[in-house]
């Protein structure tokens, strides 16, 4: 009995310091993340409009019903998915390619490694503004360069497809260095002895890449893909500066639509419901990301 009590006491005493040490973090996280999140969910069941001074009331699932029956929810979700897919198809292969080239330690690799990460350091708003001028059909440098080659450039931001492509170009310019850096780190973790053994066995460079390098960096690529998916789901600043979701609502993502609902239409509760829907959409991606992170560890 005494032994049992001692055992209990040991367990309690070993648990106490952990709780005490982590408590401030939990309080901080609760205040900054958990409370706003729960409050957002609470708001989504009310009818708060910033422009109306009538006291708000509980309206149940009406905001969700409205969001799920509005065509804009689906068209903007489709735009988000399209941007995400095109972005992933451009950014992941390009990042891998650059990482593999840099990993060869060719002459000038260090210089290019430094240069290539510069876009990552710039503010998305500034980048968006500069690219908006560059994509301008009348005075932009991109169409000027195309015209020097003897052809007419597209109206980059004037049609849906070209505007989506322009957004992907700008986002890729900023995001590829991030992909590259993570892949470079993953490549550095592969033992050189594996490559040496493959060369001894007579494998060529393509075989080495597809049979050794790629399988060994798959866990990192999974994490990267999940991070990029989440990035695309919350893509806002570049998009807002570059197209404001236009022409019309053609490049409006679900995130930007949520912003418009809340801060332009002043429909705070409707925006909260859209926010919760985005959270639900993101949840499986988050769970996959956790799983992928564990496999990297």
């Amino acid at each position: 009995m005494i032994a049992l009590r001692n055992n209990k006491r040991t367990k309690i005493s070993s648990a106490k310091p952990t709780t005490a040490f982590t408590a401030p973090t939990w309080i901080l996280l609760s205040l900054t993340i958990v409370f706003p999140l729960l409050y957002g969910v609470y708001l989504s069941f009310l009818n708060i409009n910033l422009g109306s001074f009538v006291p708000s009331k509980f309206i149940g699932l009406a905001n969700y019903k409205l969001a799920l029956t509005a065509p804009e929810t689906y068209s903007t979700l489709l735009t988000t998915i399209e941007l995400m897919l095109i972005g992933l198809l451009v950014q992941i292969p390009l990042g891998i390619f650059l990482a593999v080239v840099l990993h060869q330690n060719l002459k000038g690799s260090r210089f290019f490694r430094s240069v290539l990460i510069v876009p990552m350091l710039l503010t998305p708003v500034a980048v968006g503004l500069i690219f908006r001028f560059m994509f301008d059909t009348d005075i932009g440098i991109i169409n000027w360069a195309i015209s020097q080659a003897g052809s007419d450039g597209p109206n980059w931001l004037g049609t849906r497809n070209s505007a989506l492509f322009a957004i992907v170009i700008v986002d890729s310019w900023q995001s590829v260095p991030f992909v590259m850096l993570l892949v470079v780190a993953a490549l550095a973790g592969i033992p050189t002895s594996i490559y040496e053994a493959a060369l001894v066995d007579g494998a060529n460079k393509v075989q080495v890449f597809f049979r050794i390098t790629l399988p060994l960096i798959v866990p990192t690529l999974l994490v990267l893909t999940m991070i990029k998916i989440m990035d695309f789901l919350k893509l806002f600043d570049t998009l807002f500066i570059l197209t404001r979701g236009g022409p019309g609502n053609d490049t409006t993502t679900l995130g930007l639509w949520t912003y418009k609902t809340g801060f332009i239409f002043l429909e705070m509760s409707r925006a909260a419901a859209l926010g919760v829907i985005i959270l639900i959409i993101t949840m499986p991606v988050y769970l996959l990301w956790r799983k992928a992170s564990k496999s990297v560890r």
Binding site: L50, F53, D136, R244, G246, P247, G248, D250, I264
Partner: protein
Amino acid sequence: MAKLKRAQGIALVCVLALGLSACSSSSDDSGKELSGELNLFLIPSPSSTSIQSFIPEFEEKTGVKVNVSETPYGEAHQKQLLSYKQKAGAYDIAQFDNSFLAPFCQSKAMTALNDWVAGSDEYDINDFGQGQQDYGKCASGDTYGLTLSTEPMIQWYRTDIYEKLGLKPATTWDEWYSNAKKVQASGASGQLIGFGPNVSWWWMTMVWSFGGKLYDENLNPTVNSAEAVAAVEYMKKLLAVSPKGAITANGDEVTSKFLGEEIGAMLNYSGYYGMALDPAINKHAGKFATAPMPKGASDITHLAGWNIGIPSDAKNPDAAWAFLEFVLGKSNAKKYLESGAAAIGRKSIISDSSLQEKNPYLPQLEIPSSSRIERYPQIAVWPEFEVAAIDAVSKVLTGKSAAKAAMDALNEKLKSILANEPK
């Protein structure tokens, strides 16, 4: 001796107290004591910069300390609404866009300025045209905001291009298009309006001018009427005689393109004239002029511009009115314009020949009584209405939809949006 010293001390304290009170309070023209602090909520703009230039003089004159908080347009009205909703009393004076007058009126967020305006010789409301007098009025007739800038949409044209081609400023929409076609044929771009994220500005102007309405008196949308559809079809026609980039251009970009590129004419708010005074932006100084808008089936003037008012929870409303009267009154009207603000449109300012030299657009601010004044729709759901309209008009302009089909769809959509308008 001790008693004498004590009496001297008391007298000294009294003199000091009187002196201090004289320093810390003053009276306005109506004789009311002014004291304390004033908190101004301004939105970065030439008008805001100009208002701030008057603060030192006002502080010196009245002893009232003036604090300024500037918030960018994108979040300014949201911040104001939150503050008024909480009755925080954070601001004594607030600048706002006329498109937000409706929610402010519905929520009684601002103080009615009727008595102050009516009783002020210095402000002199009769020095304004009827349109400017009514610009800050709610449907109830209460004035919630003074006119901080008068910015009708006007015609801007390149005198050198028009002279070379023997053209005159358009008086009708047919002439506008015909001029644009001739300019386009000469190698320059024919005309410019914004087909981008602010396309609604030109769309509503055209709908009104073509004889249409956005909605009727019972808040039923009417954007698919024959007149409204004709207006959208006309806009689509204009796209062909515009520079390529017009399809994405917003209000600022329309102006900078006109001032920097070879474009025959543009339709835009007079408030953008400030950009024309900047040599870094204006490459065609002295080569353009302004004229009234072309007319359609209805003679309308689309009037835009800032308002400024006193929030209903203001802590120092008397000092706030004194400040507004000081800055926007007759005595400082010239100085206000010269310090860079968009003109308020006082009759005495519009007709001032010395001011017209630097601001040749001023006569355009005199709106003839025959012209019906239209301002941003005074409905609380306007932002949602506007986004839906921009989407529908863009579909027509980018060739995704025919004008009639797009306007029918928009009309249907607007029914549910207008149904949410607070009664």
